[in-house]
Symmetry: C2
Subunit: 123 residues, 2 copies
């Protein structure tokens, strides 16, 4: 008997965590993805392209993120032979690590209720 392909799909929780300060989002999944892509590509333009957002939007996100922090997460380098670029600071790297840890902890903590929830989903 052929197996139903939908029954093979993994059920899991994907936490999208917003760090709120009052009613403001100080940090969220999109901004953390952007920081990570800047770390990977060394360029705000490449990171924006990879996320499918405009350079201006990426620039504003970074500016706003830096404003929320004691020390900036990103340093931009203008001009020069390499045409400028963007680099993560130590503070930026720590922020990514802490945010990803929150996601992992959150996923672990959801396991028990998720196991019960799975039974209510169609097999």
């Amino acid at each position: 008997m052929a197996k139903n392909p939908t029954s093979l799909q993994k059920v899991q929780v994907r936490p999208r965590l917003r760090v709120m300060r009052g009613n403001e989002i100080a940090l969220g999944p999109g901004r953390v993805d952007l920081l990570e892509l800047i770390e990977k590509t060394g360029s705000l333009r490449s990171a924006a392209q990879a996320m499918g957002i405009s350079y201006m939007r990426a620039w504003n996100l970074i500016r706003y993120t830096n404003q929320c922090l004691s020390k900036p997460a990103i340093k931009t380098v203008r001009g020069g032979k390499t045409g400028g670029g963007a680099r993560l600071t130590d503070s930026g790297k720590e922020i990514i690590a802490l945010y990803r840890r929150m996601e992992r902890e959150s996923q672990k903590a959801s396991r028990q209720p998720l196991a019960r929830l799975k039974k209510l989903l169609k097999p």
Copy 2:
């Protein structure tokens, strides 16, 4: 000396959890809010209005949610003296409870990394 009002704002994590089956969102924060509003108002139309979405969109969200479940979360009642309405099933109530529990567990689990993250935010 006057206190800086921004330093009084509470920093907290707001988890927006997506229950994924493969690449599909089986359940997310919007749908759970909608279920809760239906429970509160007894009407899909009122729930849609409270969420600022169209009746048609709410109807599609419910139809899709029911499709993902072994037993439907919502039963709609058409016509009659009260002009129809929507009611949560026991399965629907359990889904809300489990989802909210996942959120609480997720928030608790984020506490430690959040405490460190707070120190990187502007006071």
